[in-house]
Subunit: 452 residues, 2 copies
């Protein structure tokens, strides 16, 4: 029932495009869901995609546009005239329209908007462009259903029929007073059941109305929608006037992007990237993290070279360098990951920074003791009891220090409004490598000279 994109279909289509076989394309491509058409176009060259794109209905064109991969969409938009673009923009939901226009320079935005025929739509978009992308204002759309408190059901239904033309997804109906203040929510269900002369005032729910402010962060919006299990949430301004709504699909997109970003930061990739991006772009995106790693490695070399005489006297010290650095890195990332997650979840946090660090220290002591004991035995077998002592005491110290750093750094980053997930990546690992090596060799020097 659902369309499955195959290599064969794409090749077939390519040859039909070459032969300008409109009929085949019409009956094989236009029948598909616009999201599938977009998938097909993503597999074509720009000129092929353009050919097919211009064949479809104008209304479907804008749907396809939103579903294309970003790179392909940008290319296609570039090839549209200002008037064509204005027509496309008009067919989009206001939030999507603002997202696309927001990428352009000021001048181009003005040009496109001046070419739009629907002045109300243009006004909505101009309004949305004022908001920061990562706020409720930046996520919301201007299309929603609204009824006034003192309307009877039959008038409400008449009004809603008109409004519904512009609203893609009818989920719930907001209730306002004459000054557009948000008063409550009316479910379609209630409306469906109600008598036609009943006043809206008697039907709607005014208790525990959940709304967000235009300036609320996207993260807050997503937490509110998740907590209260909402599919759509009204957005109000500072005077509690209803100005938009956010539907959950926009929040899902935001959540997915955030999760990918966190994962990318944790794994050392500096920007979101489709896996089919060019080798140069991918290389460039990964390089910053590798250079941090490189710098850490060089710092590490500097630390070790400072203890060259120790290594000369006890080459077996070198055996456990990887163990010390690896464990410091692992523990640090574990601790920071917990902090990053609880920050992202917006956990209620009655305890302060100190109590978090204290807890991680305790966990460090528990795990550190156990692991150090294992290592004491093993390192003793490798190079005698003295080496065993050095490795196990260092490992214990390194684990605790790494746990403290791992907790502390994301909290500090968060305080200065830097994405704390940054701390789960090469950053923490590198820091812990250098500090760990210093601890290891210092302790080595101390213990070997004490045991003499």
């Amino acid at each position: 029932m659902q369309f499955k994109l195959t290599k064969q279909f794409v090749e077939n289509l390519k040859s039909k495009i070459q032969n300008r076989d409109e009929k085949w394309i019409q009956s094989n491509v236009f029948e598909l869901h616009h999201a599938d058409i977009a998938d097909v176009l993503d597999e074509l060259t720009n000129s092929e995609a353009k050919y097919v794109y211009y064949l479809v209905d104008e209304e479907v064109q804008s749907d396809i546009l939103m579903d294309l991969q970003e790179e392909n969409r940008d290319r296609l938009i570039e090839s549209l005239s200002t008037k064509e673009l204005a027509d496309q923009i008009e067919n989009l939901d206001s939030d999507d329209a603002a997202d696309i226009l927001g990428e352009f320079p000021e001048e181009k935005i003005q040009e496109v908007i001046s070419q739009m025929d629907d002045e109300d739509a243009a006004e909505d978009i101009v309004d949305l462009l004022n908001y920061d992308e990562d706020t409720a204002g930046g996520l919301m759309q201007k299309e929603f259903l609204v009824v006034e408190l003192n309307w009877p059901v039959n008038r409400a239904i008449m009004q809603l029929r008109k409004q519904a033309e512009d609203v893609e997804r009818v989920i719930n109906i907001f209730v306002i007073d004459e000054e557009e203040h948000l008063l409550g929510v009316l479910s379609l269900k209630r409306l469906l059941i109600a008598n036609s002369s009943t006043k809206i005032a008697e039907l709607y729910n005014s208790k525990n109305i959940i709304s967000v402010k235009t300036s609320d962060s996207a993260e807050d919006v997503s937490n509110v929608m998740e907590k209260y299990d909402l599919v759509s949430v009204p957005v109000v301004d500072y005077q509690n006037k209803l100005v938009g709504r956010i539907t959950i699909d926009d929040v899902v997109e935001y959540l997915k992007e955030e999760a990918e970003k966190d994962f990318q930061l944790a794994t050392g990739i500096s920007e979101p990237m489709e896996s089919d991006a060019s080798i140069w772009r991918i290389s460039k995106a990964r390089l910053p993290w590798l250079i941090i790693g490189l710098a850490g490695g060089i710092l590490g070399a500097k630390v070790i070279s400072g203890f060259e005489t120790s290594i000369f006297a006890h080459p077996e010290l070198a055996f456990f360098i990887p163990l010390i650095t690896a464990m410091g890195g692992n523990v640090g990332v574990q601790s920071s990951a917990i902090v990053v997650q609880s920050l992202a979840r917006g956990d209620q946090n009655f305890g302060g920074i100190l109590s978090k660090i204290w807890k991680e220290t305790l966990i460090g002591i528990v795990n550190g003791l156990l692991l150090s004991l294992i290592v004491l035995g093993i390192a003793t077998i490798f190079g005698g009891f003295e080496l065993g002592l050095v490795v196990s005491i260092s490992l214990f110290t390194v684990i605790i220090v790494a746990a403290i750093f791992g907790t502390f750094i994301p909290l500090v980053l968060n305080k200065y409004n830097i994405d704390p997930a940054l701390a789960t990546g090469p950053f923490i690992t590198t820091l812990n490598d250098v500090v760990g090596l210093f601890i290891y060799f210092s302790l080595g020097l101390l213990i070997f000279s004490l045991m003499r």
Copy 2:
């Protein structure tokens, strides 16, 4: 407007509970949204929470139950009698009810179900319990709105009013034939606009109907809903009979859990955990990864000790051990992260494994060349040109090997149905550490002896 949980409120409530001040609790707690009441209960001891819980209406009780933190919910459920639990279960949506019952042993499930008064609800739950948690069947609920093709609008509305009592979220209406085969979707919007004698057959949309099968994986469901931008999707069985629907909030929950899981695997924590879990539980969850790291470190020590004479002759070789291991780890995690993400996204993949590996190799060559050149200069300053050669050639080799392993391992894991995200954690890092060290010291031995 929204409730903000404060430490003071919790303390105040605790003292009111002690004084059994029902009136205060009624006017200060019962007015809140059930999600907020759950948040409040999460801050209380079990006996305090139970006291408040029994005071609220039975209908609100079940809502609160679903919003509690899992630990607290389990404790509360344990204190309910079978009959009380059966009553609560009846008030829940079928998918939530099945989720809660699914945690119990067979016997207890039967007991609870036999105590339910509503036989239809009991039947729905029994049916849902048959499906695997991570499939469309496990995510779906039995409450949805449905109309038959040959009904006129007025009959449909009458039927829908009845159905709507059980359906929490009215989003769209599914259209079926007399044998319950899914034929299409009808938007409430169309119904709102239509004439009362019009047949459903003339109103509904039968083109590009998107549905999922009960056996489809949760990942597939989430990809389909995202691709086609759906707020709810019908679930059909193998005969295309409509058996349930999945709403996007359930998918959001699934997505959040998956993202957390990936992040946890990448950062070395073996199971999802609230940040306020006990120190013992957290220590235990992290220990497996640390032990992998420890084993890697010991293997590394074994490799290095095999080259003890080289270190004795060239202690400066030890300087760059951390650099080699860190870079191998970083590159490996970067490559595997890309693969894991593209697998999770369900990217269309025309190229095979080989082309992915080839691409990562090319990226490795680009980054490897650049970084090796930098390191050649720096290592030469540290310990002469020979050391520079050894470090830079090893680094280049290690980066390429790490890129290949990083790509290969998650693909292999995925093929054997093991979560590929496992490969972004300590696993890859440890493997690359050991292999990298072996390459480094072997090349060191070779180059130093060649240059003699």
